[in-house]
Assembly symmetry: C2
Homo-oligomer: 327 residues x 2
């Protein structure tokens, strides 16, 4: 029995999570689901967006399935990443049939360092100015770069590209770039690098040159939204936050207050995140089955309104579950 | 008589600058051109990529026309921006007929703060780690935001959008966002903001929602390469670096060692930068004439190889000059 801690959060988090669980629970997995609270509503109720109990539950979990939180996002998800030391944020971007997008041949994965850089929280007022510290450690660089190459190896990917700004940030990005090439030597995988600005230009003009991207925290934040945009938007972008001991899976999108409560949110990103969770827990065949079903349903035009269809969130999930039973 | 300091720099800088001057000199402007050295070759010759004489010449100029420099770029262009206090980096991105690009309806301008943020150069080794300081001052925010709104007003633009990451960088980006809305109140122009990650997603999926973008230095670096990508690449992206006293105009692209020396570089970005210079110096009609000629030549397919044509850099410039005489 695996213990899955489920944190729906706010807004559409409370719609895409039930839809995803509808599929998981329909497939008879040996999972125990334990609900935990976090986010804006939680803050209103308890005065904290991330209660100690939630953190404790996470620390007893085999995996965490996370929806989305509102205004308090930074105090919840960034804190969870730090507290659980989820140092690798894995964000695949893949074109999908039936989804209108800029390029139909994108298949890349962003591996984002998830604990340091400008996310450390070291920020100070100085007179009427302010300063933030960008912290890059050798250990942090080593483990994220190693993770990216191991990931590439395991997934049969051919190239790892580092994105950085070492021409300006000579010490911090310099350390990242140096470590990248040191570790690359141990792998029989192509390694190259671009400045982050040039990288974003190439992502827009020739995304097919990328395979696995590895980069520091804030650049990874930007790049993974950009790549989600290339393949049709955040409605489809899943992610895995991986550490030595814990793992958290979440859609890249936020709580989308503008459409929350209408039952029309697209749960695809969360369903795909759950598939990453299934693979992480050793249920690769189930993950594959759900992904196949999902692709089939979307290719047939049975989609939520954002993709041009007229299904409600739960109806879409039901279609995917039905397709799972057929594939 | 206006004094224009010309810094060709390295690589294709030494090709796109002569091409641009070919046009300017063919139009009988009351300009005196003074050449100055900077960049990698300059470093090899004198042991410094930015000699004191170059800086002194810049300080006596009415405008600086800059090509591109190689490896020493950060030590030349970043230093010039700081030393001459060129606080506003203006980078228009506009779709052009005859240029293959993702969107044919992009017409936006990135106004990038150009002197602070992670470009301050405050970086330190700490054990086997490294730290960089992101410095955001109230004065820096005020002047760049005011610049963006004044620019929007002057150019008849309808909206100014701030990009930041105030959910994570609560103090530094918080200061920028707060100042943005304080200043926005004084203008009868729509003002809104997005997180930088969401902003990059929207730039990729619906760039037409943007008009003028104002943002901090490093975000502006990334965003302006991204928007250049949207409209066909760096070959077309001009920029103006504006301060209280000085102004420097340069293509967004680098020295492109891969194609340098072949005489095939596209000088469009530099020609458009020169047009920004002409406007700045009060020669708007000449600028308009060159831009019209440039668009005509490109729309007719008379282009350098990067845009599908077979003209050499200088042949292209000659075509533009000929067209100037006709329009
Ligand atoms: C909500 C925010 C703090 C978060 C981040 O910046 O990491 C989000 O944008 C993401 O990418 O997961
Ligand atoms: C060369 C580099 C230092 C520079 C920058 O980062 O500002 C360049 O990318 C630019 O955008 O002008």
């Amino acid at each position: 029995m695996k213990k899955i801690v489920v944190i729906p959060g706010d807004g559409i988090g409370k719609e895409v999570i039930p839809a995803t669980l509808h599929i998981l629970q329909g497939l008879d997995l040996p999972f125990e689901y334990v609900y935990a609270e976090a986010g804006d509503e939680c803050f209103e109720k308890y005065g904290t967006p991330l209660p100690e109990e939630t953190l404790e539950l996470c620390k007893e979990s085999d995996a965490i399935l996370f929806g989305a939180v509102g205004e308090t996002a930074a105090d919840v998800i960034v804190k969870l990443r730090q507290e659980l030391d989820l140092f690798a944020n894995v964000r695949p971007a893949k074109s999908m049939r039936g989804v209108k997008c800029l390029y139909d041949n994108v298949d890349l994965v962003v591996v984002r360092e998830n604990t340091e850089c400008l996310y450390k929280g070291y920020e100070f007022d100085v007179g009427d100015s302010a300063v933030a510290m960008r912290v890059i450690t050798r250990k942090g660089c080593e483990r994220i770069v190693k993770f990216a190459f191991e990931f590439a190896k395991r997934e049969g990917r051919k190239k790892v590209t580092a994105l950085h700004k070492a021409n300006v940030l000579k010490k911090t990005c310099g350390l990242f770039k140096r470590t990248f090439y040191e570790i690359a030597r141990n792998y029989d995988i192509e390694a190259n690098d671009y400045y982050i600005d040039a990288g974003c230009l190439y992502l827009v003009t020739k995304p097919w040159i990328f395979d696995v991207i590895v980069t520091t925290n804030l650049f990874g934040d930007i790049v993974s939204d950009l790549t989600a945009g290339l393949v049709g938007g955040l409605g489809l972008a899943p992610s895995a936050n991986i550490g030595e001991r814990y793992a958290l899976f979440e859609p890249v999108h936020g709580s989308a207050p503008d459409i929350a409560g209408k039952g029309i949110a697209n749960p695809t990103a969360t369903i795909l995140s759950a598939c990453m969770m299934l693979r992480h827990l050793g249920f690769s065949e189930v993950a594959e089955k759900i992904e196949k079903a999902l692709k089939k349903v979307i290719a047939e035009g049975k989609t939520t309104p954002d993709l041009g269809g007229n299904l409600k969130t739960m109806e879409f999930a039901e279609e995917v579950l039905k397709a799972c039973r057929e594939v």
